[in-house]
């Protein structure tokens, strides 16, 4: 059954598909960024596919793998009536991290896209309220990017400096925090 999802997708959007992957019914299609809205609308509204639920949406930073479009936004779609799934991946370059918003199609995309903006700094064109959802507005940077320093803290509030020094001294022989290279 689900085998046909990729086949149909390939038939309809030959030019927009970068690659497809299929492992024991776990289907993935990597598509071009420009075609995203069109493809997902088609997947949702076609009667024999009916992928009407966006179960999850996330992003991946391939900095250390050195992939050329550095990011990938990943959509997991599920059909409640047909009970099949498909995964859509969209490569996003570092210098222009913008993807079309799916808010018009799936209500849940609103919060999921805000989370991706918060954590990875990928913007969503057409989002009604794109601001941080988990972190605070004062936070600088996007912490799940691989180049965000692991030890970097951005406290909102601290006790006066001498008191902190006293606290740390009392902690005494505690090992120092490991550096990033360890």
């Amino acid at each position: 059954m689900s085998r046909t999802v990729l086949d149909k997708l390939r038939q309809r959007f030959e030019a927009s598909i970068i690659e497809t992957h299929d492992f024991r019914g776990d289907e993935t299609a990597t598509i071009r960024r420009e075609a995203l809205l069109e493809v997902v609308t088609w997947l949702k509204e076609r009667n024999d596919l009916e992928l009407d639920m966006l179960t999850d949406m996330t992003a991946v930073d391939y900095l250390e793998q050195g992939n050329d479009p550095r990011f990938q936004v990943v959509y997991h779609l599920y059909s409640v009536s047909k009970s099949h799934r498909v995964r859509i991946k969209v490569p996003v370059p570092q210098d222009d991290p913008v993807v079309d918003s799916l808010c018009q199609l799936y209500k849940i995309a609103n919060w999921l896209e805000r989370e991706i903006w918060d954590m990875y700094g990928i913007r969503f064109k057409g989002h009604p309220n794109l601001k941080r959802i988990l972190l605070y507005e004062e936070f600088v940077g996007h912490p799940l990017r691989k180049d965000y320093p692991k030890e970097r803290r951005q406290p909102l509030i601290r006790r006066p400096e001498p008191e902190i020094a006293q606290v740390l001294a009392r902690r005494g022989k505690a090992r120092p925090l490991p550096t990033a290279t360890e």
């Binding site: 406290p155 909102l156 601290r158 006790r159 006066p160 008191e163 902190i164 925090l177």
Partner: protein, 179 residues
């Protein structure tokens, strides 16, 4: 029991009364909360130490129990709750996350609540055994009896400065200023 009265200092009597009537405010954020609930039950029975009564308003409490991981975003909230508690007040840091951030070393987690508010007793463990918490409670009672809690010391320091005619601000999260 009568011995403390026999020492003759009013402060000792007051502290004796305080240590057996701790009104706690639980600031429960994470999984340590389950152990914290066990503490209340008949098996471990924190009521034996006079600290069984949780108040869900900090203004009616005098002991803050920070139970679980505190994020940087919660910092101002925690500080504000601490400031609302009536003095003298005491803070117990329950579990490694509250004490030092525990195994979280990342952008979101505060590396110990003592970076924001003063802490009187730390309880290690992930989560701590109820016995460890009872032990900490006894330690806190000893501290209260000796007048060694942070806010008690701040109060004493302020009075001493007044007596010596020094005046001025006390550096401390108690936010008092001797005038």
């Amino acid at each position: 029991m009568g011995l403390e009265f026999a020492t003759g200092r009013l402060a000792d009597a007051v502290n004796w009364a305080r240590k057996f009537s701790l009104f706690q405010y639980p600031f429960v954020t994470a999984c340590c909360g389950m152990e914290y609930m066990a503490l209340w039950g008949p098996r471990y029975d924190v009521a034996r130490f006079g600290a069984e009564f949780p108040r869900f308003s900090p203004r009616q409490a005098d002991m803050l129990m920070v139970v679980g991981t505190v994020t940087e975003r919660q910092g101002p909230v925690l500080k504000r709750i601490y400031e609302q508690i009536t003095e003298p007040k005491w803070v117990i840091s329950f579990g490694v996350c509250a004490s030092s951030g525990g195994f979280y070393q990342n952008y979101a987690t505060m590396p110990g609540i003592d970076h924001v508010i003063p802490v009187d007793v730390y309880i290690p463990g992930c989560p701590p055994r109820p016995e460890a918490v009872l032990d900490a409670l006894i330690m806190l009672q000893e501290k209260i009896q000796g007048g060694r809690g942070w806010s008690q010391r701040q109060y004493w320091l302020e009075r001493e400065r007044e007596r010596l005619g020094l005046g001025g601000e006390i550096s401390g999260s108690g936010q008092r200023s001797a005038t």
